[in-house]
């Protein structure tokens, strides 16, 4: 499932294909389905017990990518980034342009033709171009238009052991886990929310939250792992192979302390690996969910992921399994947390 999901293209603002796919796969498990005007998908799964409390799970369908801003006279595509991508990961990448997914490459003149000074400079995305094989603007315009979305082209590949590389691990892991968890029934009503435009500033989830007004929300994400070469250990934000990441706080939100304690307690009880996110950098849908409408108890559970926002993100299948176990455990036991919460109130 992760292979299929990561190889689908859904640059922020262009999530239709993946939304169609998710609908085709899991509609049968839902009691109610809403596809809103932005493109967000909501699946309601009614609980086994009658309760007024609403649980919502969030994962975003969109990924970072590019968009065509112009076509040059000699038929090359100029582009801008949709969502944050480091300019330095783009050169010589393969891409798929427009709805027809025309293959192209991001070129750069040969090393032989560069002056010594040139080689010391980072090439900015404004100076890059995509080569699809057209020789004139007219020829290119028959197939490509300004505003066409462009996805990075990077197949899912297994590396050693359970490691794998793919694009869009952020946040197809969240989508994949939600799709699997929709097969089961839970005590409470659960809203499975597949949001759009997280990479644009969590725009889809803000709309979603105002519609659903959940009491408790869990955000399923991918988060940066920095356990790599040339990084001192004390700067590791998260590590691959150490289990799902429970957020404490980040640039966008503070995790609800009671909810976090509940999740950590469950992980310990069930012997599920977990780790905390040891940096306050980055943000996710939690930011807007926490404050949308009347406010909401929220926590994020994430898959550690190296080289996030590049075509070659790397994650660990073992972490994925543990993350799924943890989220499943939370859904199964969330009733006790809610009851306790209301008693305390």
């Amino acid at each position: 499932m992760l292979k299929i999901l990561t190889e689908l293209n859904a640059v922020a603002g262009n999530e239709e294909k993946i939304a169609d796919f998710i609908l085709s796969q899991v509609s049968g498990y839902a009691d109610d389905i809403i596809r809103d005007s932005m493109g967000n998908l909501i699946f309601l799964k009614k609980g086994k017990k009658q309760t007024s409390k609403k649980i919502a799970l969030f994962a975003h369908m969109d990924e970072v990518g590019l968009i065509c801003t112009d076509i040059t006279d000699d038929g090359y595509i100029k582009f801008d980034c949709v969502g944050h991508i480091d300019d330095r990961v783009l050169l010589t990448q393969k891409v798929l342009v427009g709805d027809d997914e025309l293959p192209g490459v991001i070129g750069i003149k040969a090393v032989h033709l560069q002056e010594k000074e040139e080689r010391k400079k980072v090439i900015k995305k404004e100076d890059m171009y995509i080569d699809i094989g057209f020789s004139t603007k007219e020829e290119a315009q028959k197939h490509v238009s300004k505003g066409d979305y462009i996805a990075l082209d990077s197949p899912y590949v297994r590396l050693n052991g359970r490691r794998f590389k793919a694009k869009a691990i952020d946040d197809r892991v969240g989508c994949a886990i939600m799709m699997e968890l929709m097969h089961d029934k839970y005590d409470c009503d659960v809203y499975f929310c597949f949001s759009v435009q997280e990479e644009m500033g969590m725009r889809g989830s803000s709309v979603l939250t105002r519609r659903i007004k959940p009491d408790v929300a869990l955000v399923l994400e991918a988060t940066t792992a920095s356990d790599t070469a040339f990084v001192p250990e004390h700067l590791y934000a998260t590590r691959l192979g150490e289990g799902p990441v429970i957020s404490l706080m980040d640039k966008g939100s503070y995790s609800d302390i009671a909810l976090r304690k509940f999740i950590v307690g469950l992980a310990q009880k069930r012997n599920i690996k977990y780790q905390f996110k040891l940096t306050s950098n980055g943000a996710n849908d939690s930011r807007v969910i926490q404050t949308a409408g009347g406010g909401c108890v929220v926590n994020a559970i994430s898959l550690p992921c190296r080289y996030i926002h590049s075509a070659v993100s790397v994650a660990d299948g073992g972490d994925y399994d543990e993350m799924k176990r943890l989220v499943r455990a939370v859904l199964n036991d969330i009733g006790s947390f809610i009851e306790k919460g209301s008693e305390e109130a």
Binding site: H112, K121, D131, L159, S226, V314
Partner: protein, 345 residues
């Protein structure tokens, strides 16, 4: 022959300079089909002879089979693989690429660098050089040290991409495209007795100092040699001294090139109405033509080139029409070449 199919096959093989054995073996089998004698010499060159029953004299066609790449320098304490370059590579293209590490067997890995959030501002705006890049193969230090000996060659992962209008992108088209042209020429003239012996030389170690061609030319000692290689094609970031893809064969002129032979080659193309371009190289052409020219007692040499965009990257791009016209040009010349020596004066 279907040239593009052969180019795909050849570019998917891995062989950095000094590690070309897989390609030598593959080509020896290919040449055997239509050649009278084929052998692999002591440094890995494939030398194939198509004998004439009626005449004498020797013509040599040459292309190199090695590719640029990397080599494993060391493995760090966490299993990350540190690398250096073999042949000229712009380090700016490496971050975010997928590679094949040829250890005890082949392992797929991705090229990573420190994540942005732990980079200093200076690091963030700077070029990431070889000493700050590494390969992530998803292994622990122990696994990596067992499976990836120091000195293991590393190549770009091959993802052939057919673009529009006959364009094709892949790794190592420099110079496997020319090798495919050699095979195409052979297939075209397989039933023709040219009146002289024709040698096909697929040579090693061009990228590190034009070495294979030196020993091949010494062994063959031809009357005339033609090296086939790639030259820089025009791209949006470089128009000076480059050739538009689709222009046909690019014929080199200058001290590396035998003047009369070259003029005869040009008249031959004019007679056959094959369009071409002239490239002027006032000194070292940086190709095997340079080493062949002074092999043995001196060999009249030509250099025929194929325009190639983004040379020395994983997305080298050519137009298949150029491969076809280089092949036709060679066939025309070989058919008109006479042993009499009148071609040389």
């Amino acid at each position: 022959m279907n040239i593009i199919k052969e180019i795909k096959q050849l570019s998917s093989l891995s062989g950095i300079s000094g590690y070309e054995h897989r390609i030598s073996q593959y080509l020896a089998n290919k040449f055997k089909k239509y050649c009278d004698e084929v052998y692999i010499d002591s440094i890995g060159n494939v030398i194939a002879l198509k004998r004439s029953e009626v005449g004498s004299g020797k013509v040599m066609l040459e292309a190199h089979i090695d590719e640029i790449g990397m080599m494993v320098k060391s493995i760090d304490d966490n299993g990350f693989v540190l690398i250096t370059s073999v042949g000229g590579i712009d380090p700016r293209i490496l971050y975010g690429n997928v590679v094949n590490v040829h250890g005890v067997r082949d392992f797929i890995g991705v090229i990573g660098a420190k994540p942005p959030h732990v980079m200093t501002d200076d690091e963030y705006s700077d070029v990431i050089d070889f000493d700050k890049l590494y390969i992530d193969v998803g292994m622990s230090a122990e696994e990596a040290k067992q499976n990836i000996p120091i000195g293991s060659p590393v190549t770009f992962d091959c993802l052939n991409t057919e673009l529009e209008s006959g364009y094709f992108a892949s790794k190592s088209l420099d110079d496997r495209a020319s090798v495919a042209i050699l095979l195409d020429v052979l297939e075209t003239i397989k039933d023709v007795d040219l009146g002289y012996d024709l040698y096909f030389c697929a040579c090693v170690q061009e990228e590190v100092g034009l070495r294979g061609s030196l020993t091949a030319a010494y062994a063959v000692n031809p009357d005339v040699a033609i090296a086939i290689d790639v030259t820089h094609a025009t791209t949006p970031d470089e128009s000076k001294g480059t050739f538009k893809c689709g222009c046909g064969p690019v014929i080199c002129k200058g001290p590396n090139i035998h003047k009369t032979l070259c003029n005869n080659f040009i008249s031959c193309l004019n007679n056959a109405s094959i369009p071409f371009e002239i490239e002027v190289e006032s000194g070292n052409t940086g190709t095997d033509a340079w080493s062949i020219q002074t092999a043995k007692e001196g060999i009249p040499t030509l250099l025929l080139s194929l325009p190639l965009k983004y040379m020395h990257t994983p997305v080298e791009t050519l137009n298949i029409k150029d491969c076809e016209s280089v092949s036709s040009a060679l066939v025309e010349f070989l058919k008109s070449y006479k042993r009499t020596g009148d071609m040389l004066c």
